[in-house]
Amino acid sequence: MMQKSVAVVGAAETTKMGKIPDVSVIGLHADAALNAMADAGLKPTDIDGVACAGISPVELAQYLGITPTYADGTSVGGCSFMLHVRHAAAAINAGLCTTVLITHGESGRSRVGAGGFGRAPSSLMGQFEMPYGVTAPPTMFTIPVLRYMKTYGVTEEDLANVAVIQREWAAKNPRASYRDPITIDDVLNSDMIAWPFRKLMCCLVTDGGGALILTSAERAKDFPQKPVYVLGTGESVETPMVSQMEDFTTSKAFRVSGKKAFDEAGISHADVDHLMIYDAFAHLPLYGLEDLGFCKPGEAKDFINGRNTAIGGKLPLNTNGGGLSYMHSGMYGMYALQESVRQMRGIAPAQVDGAKISVCHGVGGMFAASGTVIFTNEA
């Protein structure tokens, strides 16, 4: 895509977050969409492109009263929204539409109007993974980590410290679900979920949503909010079955998506002021830092233990508190994007002073898919 040709002009989360037993899934999409439209000064009839995951863009368009000339139902898990941004930028540049609304809503905790998590027993996952007792992500996303730990000498304390440092960021965020400080011992003494993963190494399960509105950079100047430009984007997919990942110490989808985004953006790692790495579990920031090229393989633990990603560090990471402490409704990618946009607008609760470039990296499924968006606030 062309650098800075498209911008985010509307961004918002749902009015409430955490536990929302009185709103259904589609209601969360709509609440976030209406908040983002208010942010951008638009109404549904001003929107001509829709994208969402979890529900169909057909449902979204009809519910909001939008008649789109562009619809994207890409649904590859929690990073779907990074892919939606990428596709929307290409669509706007190609003239398929002018103004794209991307929404997420999920009743992860309350399960109001939500579907199940099962897999068909005739699918490849149903035949070759489900019979061995896998449940939700805590027993699948986590399977590669012992190999990674053995290869690079990573300890349970190293994993725990990821959660500790993200809680420090969450403490600065009034909307974060968990804000009380925790120690490495607290993490290592929390309930065992799937060894070596303890409860505080796993993401939250909450209700919520978010929405983004994108338009051309040319039109973006006329909107009420400071435009946040899309500088580079990447995406890739690897496998629906975690057991079939090519290498358990690195994600191919992360590497391909990240490189594409950095190449498109024409930036180096030293240019990055702020970073979001989707953290469904504590090992993901380690994989992300290495697969995006911020650290050499095996060195992310030392980078984090050296407080480089903590408050005051040179590479602020997951400044909203992340999926571990901020919120995680199921497809967290939207909240990572929201935090990148807030940082680029200069309005984040834990604002990184003078930040000009933010990298937002998402994962879908259990290392199944990946999407990366690089934003800047400089035209």
């Binding site: 005739s122 019979p131 007792g133 027993t139 399977i143 190999r147 065992m192 799937a194 993963f197 079939q244």
Partner: protein, 135 residues
């Protein structure tokens, strides 16, 4: 305890499940490159060649990675159990359970040698598990 969740074979995978019922772990390989692959499909990944064959694997493997699930799925009983990925001697990896040893980090050491065993779960489905190698 509810009945264990079992696979439903498709035409492309039926040979694998016929194999386990007969006590054989069947893999496939590309006849052009010789590369073995899993899970089953009637063509070789990457090359796209349909010139493939089914062959019997040795059943030897090593422990590649795992977790010990402390929140057992209802059909899996009440005790923690390991969900493992094993590295087959022929190259591919597969998910499985490790049987015949305690489900503890001390007993389950990465790279330990394993061998396949078969357990009949129903008239049509026999699952391949792995146990510490005896020889």
């Amino acid at each position: 305890m509810p009945p264990r969740i079992l696979p439903e074979p498709t035409p492309e995978t039926q040979h694998f499940w016929d194999g386990t019922r007969n006590g054989e772990l069947l893999l496939q390989r590309c006849k052009e490159t010789g590369e073995a692959y899993f899970p089953p499909r009637p063509f070789a990944p990457k090359t796209g060649s349909r010139n493939v064959e089914v062959f019997k694997a040795s059943g030897r493997a090593t422990l590649y990675s795992y977790v010990i699930n402390h929140r057992p799925r209802p059909d899996m009983g009440t005790e923690p159990y390991a969900i493992a990925v094993v590295q087959l001697e022929e190259g591919p990896r597969m998910m499985t359970n490790i049987v015949g040893c305690p489900q503890t980090p001390e007993a389950l050491v990465l790279d330990m040698p394993l061998e396949v065993v078969f357990e009949k779960m129903s008239d049509t489905i026999t699952l391949p598990f792995f146990q510490p190698a005896k020889g």
